[in-house]
């Protein structure tokens, strides 16, 4: 199936989970990453079970914050 990750189209295996995609992409410091699929933010609790579908648009967003 074909999905879009960070604006780039890719062919991936069926039933790819968000957790697996994070592993494949070697996302750094995943604990600070928010994931959206088709502009909906996905809870970290379901990364292991959330299967991506053909045509999904995925974005990895790094948490950006700080303090004085």
């Amino acid at each position: 199936m074909r999905i879009t990750v960070g604006g780039e189209k890719r062919d991936v295996d069926e039933a790819l989970t968000i957790r697996k995609l994070i592993e494949i992409d070697k996302v750094e410091t995943p604990e600070y990453v928010t994931v959206s699929v088709n502009e909906e933010f996905i809870s970290k609790d379901v990364f292991d079970s959330y299967s991506l579908k053909d045509g999904d648009e995925v974005e990895f967003l790094y948490f950006m914050g700080g303090g004085r």
Partner: protein, 144 residues
């Protein structure tokens, strides 16, 4: 690395940071890395600090996503972020360092500690052997 930002984009950061006081203000920076090794900030994004305090900032993820898509549409490269320190100097705090997780990013901090003399600095923050290392970058405000 040398970084440039136009006076007009700098002014947008400054005015937004002033308006958001006493809270910290924040946003993203975008532009392009030139072949001459100079990083050029051509657009800043003024985003919501969802913490709404003078001690922390967290960029609204929905606005962050919208900004990233805008950059993509306009063929701009995400270059990092900016935030204000309403009451403290322009240098990364321990929390700033802890939460800086992108070694390719530039981190801009605008201090309003002295309102009559705002200070904007840029920093590179990298995790080296488990320790966050900070390097100040040369930042030039260009144009009138």
């Amino acid at each position: 690395m040398k970084i440039t930002i136009s006076k007009s984009e700098y002014d947008r950061i400054y005015k937004h940071a002033l308006a958001e006081r006493p809270n910290e203000a924040c946003g993203l920076i975008a532009g392009f890395d030139g072949e001459d090794g100079i990083r050029n900030i051509t657009k800043v994004y003024l985003l919501t600090n969802v913490d709404h305090t003078n001690e922390h900032f967290s960029i609204d993820p929905a606005e962050q996503l919208a900004a990233i898509k805008d950059m993509r549409r306009n063929e701009l490269k995400p270059l990092g972020n900016w935030h204000s320190h309403p009451e403290t100097p322009s240098r990364p705090s321990e929390e700033d360092k802890r939460l800086a997780n992108d070694s390719k990013a530039s981190y801009l901090i605008l201090s309003l500690q002295d309102e009559s003399d705002p200070v904007l600095n840029a920093f590179h923050i990298e995790n080296i052997d488990g320790e966050k290392t900070v390097r100040k970058e040369e930042l030039v405000i260009i144009g009138g």
